[in-house]
């Protein structure tokens, strides 16, 4: 039973991550009708914002310590981060420790600006072009972004730990009457879970309860009519693109302690996020969230030893298998609208 609970918890955690990643993608689909293969790259840029902040905070000046030597026998160069010399070692170290949460503050403007520029500079010219062209140009962009990241940060995964205080686990099980330590879950994963729910709720509330959101939803349903009503829908759509980029970026930042970022994670998440969005139904935000949780929980259960013993390798293909089953039984995914991306 405790193992079962642990897998449900894990499934929810995975599901929230999938849903958050898919959310930005489906925002772009739904509003602009653009197939954005660079979405994984946006997620990655977010992750590397955290890395960059970590680097900035550890910018150091060098002092030479004559008493010690480095591996070549030369005097050791001691690096002291500027933050530590400005704020004192303790506060300086604490600021560095909190670099991942702090990166959230940095990632929102950076990603919003990036999304804005990307839409105005590139995507805008592709609204009327075939989806295949959109795929290719954004795929090319994704490769270029990945290579630039590799050029500056190398190809190895970079460790970006969560703040010290989030490193432990929370004994979820003991609240529910299980043995101590039987259902312990990493604290940062729970933070990520809460964060995902918060962002998803915020995006929904924004679209549902603000005038701006209402106009965007109207534009999603019928762009032309909204335009004829004298509303500058283009500007709002650009804003939505920036918003989607910011959501992807935040997901990336918060994910770094779980998955050490490297230049290829964008591509790793690309296929997954597409499957989630399509299973949810093109252009449907609730569908994407639902599909994220569904796939997360099913994948978590498929990884259980008992299930794997029954069907070897099921954990490797479960996502695709579910995608096929759902698309065959529900033609437009879980909650897709008719006529979106069907030709």
């Amino acid at each position: 039973m405790d193992a079962f609970l642990l897998q449900i918890l894990n499934g929810l955690d995975k599901g929230a991550a999938y849903a958050l990643i898919a959310l930005g993608l489906t925002l772009i689909f739904g509003t602009l009708g653009v197939v954005n293969f660079a979405h994984g790259a946006l997620f990655m840029i977010g992750a590397f914002c955290a890395v960059t902040l970590q680097r900035i905070l550890s910018f150091s000046f060098t002092t030479i310590d004559e008493t010690r030597t480095d591996f070549l026998g030369n005097p050791l160069k001691v690096q002291t981060p500027y933050v530590e010399s400005w704020f004192g070692p303790e506060l300086g170290a604490a600021i560095q420790d909190w670099s991942v949460p702090l990166a959230i503050l940095m990632v929102i403007p950076v990603m919003f600006l990036f999304g804005w520029i990307m839409e105005r500079g590139l995507i805008k010219h592709f609204y009327t072009r075939p989806h295949a062209d959109q795929i290719l140009v954004t795929f090319g962009l994704a490769i270029v972004i990945g290579e630039l990241i590799k050029y500056f940060f190398g190809a190895n995964p970079i460790q970006t730990p969560a703040p010290q205080m989030f490193l432990g686990t929370i004994d979820v099980g003991s609240w529910l009457g299980f043995d101590r330590g039987a259902v312990a879950y990493p604290m940062w994963r729970l933070v990520y879970f809460m964060f995902s729910l918060l962002i998803i709720a915020a995006v929904f509330a924004f679209l549902q309860f603000t005038t701006f959101g209402m106009v965007v939803r109207a534009g999603m349903a019928d762009r032309e009519t909204v335009g004829l009503l004298g509303i500058d829908i283009d500007k709002r759509f650009t804003f939505m693109f920036g918003l989607a980029a910011a959501v992807a970026g935040m997901a990336g930042v918060m994910y770094t302690p779980i998955l050490s970022p490297h230049y290829n994670i964008g591509m790793d998440f690309l296929v997954l996020s597409f499957v989630v969005v399509v299973v949810g139904g093109m252009g449907s935000l609730p569908g994407a969230v639902l599909a994220g949780f569904l796939l997360g929980i099913l994948q978590s259960f498929a990884s259980m030893n008992e299930v794997k013993a029954l069907i070897p390798g099921i954990d490797q293909i479960i996502i695709y298998l579910i995608a096929i089953i759902i698309l065959l039984t529900r033609p437009r995914g879980l909650m897709g609208r008719k006529g979106v991306m069907e030709n």
Partner: protein, 448 residues
């Protein structure tokens, strides 16, 4: 000083094979007149350095490339000579190989067998390479080794740790200096016993492909020999990224040891996530829970950061060794690039020198002469102590390092510390050992 192993019998054998090749009614390429593929004709000879430059192992590949460039410089008499000064064989004098200057071409394997073969083919067909070196995965090593066997050039494997490379898939034209999964198990066993006792329950997470399986099999065999129990072996998809759904069941499995048969980014992620699940803070069966990573590399250790502290693993070589050969190599590598070399870099550097030395001792670039010179060749001064290239399977036998994540690293380069240098006798095995059986070395192929 030169001790040539190029016997008369070898010459005759080579001649006969070449003769048979000539007698066949086929169109012959120009190169075939000299009896072997890509016989160097001018004043230069070309090596092909086939390493991953894109994909997950790109950094490792680039480090290999640095070492290979350094080796070529040393062969051509540029720089301080590195390990040429400490190598027990003294036939290389910095004037190239057999009077020919060494050139090299580079290629990108992308860590994909297909691409690696395409790149190696282009090196052989277009650049007339006489030897291919490098690589960072066993799948690629086996694929390229097979290609070199068919084409008639020598393959000096880079980083490849699967038992299969010199077991099931061994080839006469291929040589591996790097250690293998069996050796990791044999070296780790006694250290684990000393550290953690004989009564442990191990839970394996294993990358679901051939290398992962051979390593898991080897480690399971050696830990069970200590009296450990194997609670479970769970196969995980390659590149899974998030391993949480595989780690969560460990909590309630009753196991007190987690063995991660992962490499590269997978290892960084699975280790980091296992630590996040609080595994190392737990007490199971009255013992502290512990994690073991059988195969280490410096680049991974850097990626895993502080999570690696106190975690045991094994390595082929490390720059912190104190012998003369290591120091010479670390000095010239460090002076050129500003940081110490990785063990992938070391193995590629050594392989390049060993090839050059074998050619010189044989007095010929003919692959069959090189094979004969390398088989059962004993040498020293290359950083691993006295070493033998066993003729029966073309595997190098040498000491193996047992490593541990350093508790207090002073820089980003000493995140691992050497716990023990396991003597070679302890990791040796019979060529027909069941984990290596089923292969067939075949005969050397000079091509053409």
């Amino acid at each position: 000083m030169s001790k040539s192993n190029f016997s008369r019998r070898g010459v005759l054998k080579t001649g006969a094979i070449a003769g048979a090749g000539l007698a066949l009614p086929t169109y012959l390429s120009a190169a075939s007149h000299s009896g072997f593929t890509n016989a160097p004709t001018g004043s230069t000879v070309t090596f092909g350095f086939n390493v991953p430059q894109t994909g997950p192992y790109a950094e490792e590949g680039l480090d290999e490339l640095r070492a290979q460039e350094l080796a070529v410089e040393h062969l051509n008499g540029i720089g301080d000579g590195g390990m040429l000064n400490t190598f027990s064989s003294k036939v290389l004098d910095g004037t190239g190989i057999l009077g020919k200057k060494v050139n090299f071409v580079t290629g990108d394997t992308q860590t994909k067998s297909d691409v690696a073969r395409a790149s190696a083919q282009s090196m052989i067909q277009k650049d007339n390479c006489i030897m291919i070196n490098g690589g960072s995965s066993s799948g690629v090593a086996v694929a390229v080794q097979g290609l070199c066997q068919e084409a008639g050039v020598i393959f000096m494997a880079g980083l490849t740790h699967s038992n299969d490379t010199t077991g099931k898939d061994k080839k006469a034209n291929g040589f591996r200096h790097f250690f293998n999964a069996y050796m990791s198990g044999a070296a780790l066993g006694p250290v684990l016993q000393k550290e953690y006792g004989t009564d442990r329950r191990a839970y394996h997470l294993t990358a679901d492909y051939t290398w992962g399986w051979t390593q898991q099999e080897s480690i399971q065999a050696s830990t069970e020999a200590l009296g450990w129990e194997t609670a479970q072996n769970v196969l995980t998809p390659v590149g899974a990224g998030d391993f949480s759904s595989y780690i969560a069941p460990v909590l309630n499995s009753g196991a007190d040891t987690l063995i991660l048969n992962h490499y590269g980014g997978d290892m960084v992620n699975s280790l980091t996530q296992a630590v996040q699940f609080g595994l190392r803070d737990r007490q199971v069966n009255g013992k502290d829970f512990t994690i073991i990573v059988p195969l280490y590399s410096e680049l991974m250790a850097a990626g895993a950061g502080s999570n690696i502290r106190g975690v045991f693993g094994s390595m082929n070589w490390n720059w912190q060794l104190q012998d003369e050969g290591t120091q010479a190599f670390v000095r010239s590598f460090g002076q050129k690039y500003g940081f110490p070399p990785s063990n992938a870099a070391h193995t590629c550097y050594v392989q390049t020198l060993l090839y050059a030395d074998a050619v010189t001792r044989a007095g010929s670039f003919n692959p069959c002469a090189v094979v004969e010179a390398l088989e059962d060749f004993e040498f020293d001064g290359m950083g691993n102590g006295p070493t033998t290239y066993r003729g029966a399977d073309h595997q190098c036998f040498k000491d193996v390092l047992v490593m541990k994540g350093a508790e207090n690293p002073t820089s980003q380069y000493d995140t691992l510390e050497i716990v023990e240098i396991t003597p070679r006798a302890q990791v040796e095995y019979d060529p027909e050992h069941p984990m290596f059986a089923g292969g067939n070395l075949g005969t050397c192929n000079p091509g053409a």
